[in-house]
Amino acid sequence: MKRMILITLCMMLVPGLTIAAEPSAESVIGDALDQMRGLTSESVNTMTIHRPDWERTMTIKGYTSGRENSIFWVLSPPKDEGNGTLKQQNEMWTYNPKVNRVIKLPPSMMAQSWMGSDFSNDDLAKSDTIVNDYNHQLTSTKTVNGKKVYVIESPAKQQAPVIWGKLRFEIREDNVLLKEEFFDEDGELVKTMDTLEIKTMGGRILPATWKIYKTDVDDEYTLLVVDEIKFNIDLPANLFTRSALKNPPR
């Protein structure tokens, strides 16, 4: 009889234990995003666009606040210095110092590439609304180098204004995004983002080098390297505005 009780107890506990061990898919993704952005962040990044016969490297200064707002400026090459991009919720503006105008990106341009890279404007604008626009489901877990990795599949919600049909994430248990895959409506893999290097920066463990590439072309990719990053700093209240876009901080 004692044995019976013990077994019953175990059976009751075991499923409970596994549930407690697996966090919800939403929180895994949310935590991974927060890990990279903090409350606020200031960063310097190097973006290299590689094509078979051509390569171009740009340095980009970026600020983020919460999950919604971000602003970037090109620091180099000198020809493009001062070109800026502002993102508020799902809207984007771009600024060019040569014509001294701030232009709002129309919806038709959202699928176009950002600064000629393999990132689309949509990737930037929607990068953090993914939590709300997709249904997230934890499909499996695996162990890589002794750390647990969650595999999450996220089909787009019915009415969500997004260009992807499905996303697939691999996120390590310490909130490091290892891989993100972009599928179209037919379930075909279109684009992949791989984390090539993980570093501790600004007191957090982060993906420090990303490689993003399309499935159907060889030898074309964009490499994004985080050179410096600081978290939870005080940013001026008016930083994420169109007028700030015209005046990059020195």
């Binding site: 051509w54 990106l105 600064m115």
Partner: protein
């Protein structure tokens, strides 16, 4: 045989009203077929000529892969060498150069993604009709001057008119940002909705500087003296291009490959036309079948008498077929003559379809349509009518073979 012809001819006019109605049905079918076919084929020819001369041209030379993915780096790096090849081609009447980039155009607070094309104003005017469809302002004057002409729908969307300024923002060939203020000098309305809504034209020199092209272009557009010259010219030019030593292989595309939709649209329209004609021919066939069947039923006693007098079954059948051939021949001559006259009249004067001009425009059709009479349009429709009529007439004629003289004479 001579007497048979005479009897057949007289038999036709024994029931004057029925024969005339049958002849009219055949004539009407022939007339309609001649006119409709001439009209359809004529408007297709117009549609192809008209829409190709707006922008596409007959042939385009592009770097490998540019047709599929309009990547600004997939260039024709030495347009001069291509020009030499085209110059030497008798099958090419003229050519022009273009460079394209998908970019943003922005007025005060409106922004649209458009295809910005750099064109050589003088050459372009010889190859396409763009210069003649400027509705407001002026055509590009040439040189590096930040001038632009845009489609009327784009102008409406951007809320700009001739003389206004817009901002252009795009990506140059070297990956840098191409940005400039442009002045709208003119607004065109080509009738092709896509082009009027999403194309801005600037001079090739301006494009070269803004997009850092270093003399390269994306398309060399050529026109041939006639549509029939396109295929041979394509083969000849491709052969010459294959001999060029360029870093990117160059390929010639003909208009059917460039805008497959045009030919497909024509095919769909043609087949729906064919279905309509088939229904018409079937209706005519039934009316003729009715006439002939009635004739045989009514004339059973007459046939019985003829058979009793020694006319063979074969001769009787031949007589009936002769009758139907006469009906058919008279109807066809009348129909073809009428159809040809009507077609020739409209070929001279054109058909103005008021109210439908919007639809025609979207198909790239001119507002005046002209049918075009040819041997094909004269012969093919009536030939089908003749064949179907003859087959229809066979049935009652063969029925007459089964008649027994005595029984037939006693028939009611």
């Amino acid at each position: 045989m001579g007497i048979d012809l005479k009897i057949a001819w007289r038999n036709i006019w024994r029931n004057r009203r029925r024969s005339i109605l049958t002849i009219l049905a055949i004539a009407f079918a022939c007339l309609l077929l001649v006119f409709m076919l001439s009209f359809q084929l004529g408007s297709y020819a117009d549609m192809i000529r008209f829409s190709l001369r707006i922008h596409t041209g007959h042939l385009q030379i592009k770097a490998d892969g540019y047709q599929k993915d309009k990547d600004i780096r997939k260039v024709v790096s030495d347009p001069g060498a291509v020009a030499e090849i085209l110059q030497a081609q008798p099958g090419v009447a003229d050519y022009t150069f273009r460079a394209n980039a998908f970019s943003l155009l922005s007025s005060h607070d409106r922004t649209y993604g458009v295809m910005v094309s750099g064109i050589d104003p003088q050459r372009e005017a010889r190859v396409t009709t763009i210069k003649h469809v400027i509705r407001q302002g002026a055509y590009l004057s040439g040189g590096d001057n930040n001038e632009a002409i845009i489609g009327n729908l784009l102008a409406e969307n951007l809320k700009v008119g001739a003389g206004d300024e817009m901002v252009l923002l795009g990506q140059a060939r070297d990956g840098s940002v191409a940005a400039s203020m442009l002045t709208v000098t003119g607004i065109f309305s080509s009738g092709q909705t896509d082009m009027d809504r999403s194309v801005a034209l600037i001079t090739l020199d301006t494009f070269d500087r803004l997009y850092f092209m270093r003399g390269a272009v994306h398309e060399v557009v050529a026109v041939c003296p006639a549509l029939g010259d396109v295929k041979p010219a394509q083969a000849a030019v491709q052969k010459a291009l294959d001999g060029l030593k360029t870093r990117r292989h160059l390929r010639v595309w003909n208009w059917q490959e460039l805008i497959p939709g045009l030919l497909q649209g024509i095919k769909i329209d043609f087949f729906s036309g064919i279905i309509f004609y088939m229904i018409m021919v079937i209706v005519v066939a039934f009316s003729i079948l009715n006439t002939f069947l009635m004739a045989v039923f009514e004339r059973t006693r007459e046939f019985g008498v003829l058979l009793a007098l020694g006319v063979t079954h074969g001769r009787l059948t031949r007589l009936l077929l002769l009758e139907s051939s006469f009906l058919c021949a008279v109807g066809m001559v009348a129909g073809i003559t009428g159809g040809a006259l009507i077609t020739l009249y409209f070929q001279q004067n054109g058909i103005h379809i008021s109210g439908a001009s919007e639809i025609l425009k979207s198909y790239g059709l001119p507002e005046v349509l002209r049918p075009r009479l040819s041997w094909v349009t004269i012969i093919s429709g009536p030939a089908v009518v003749f064949a179907v009529t003859f087959l229809t007439a066979l049935y009652p004629a063969l029925r007459a073979r089964k008649l027994k003289p005595a029984a037939a004479m006693h028939a009611a």
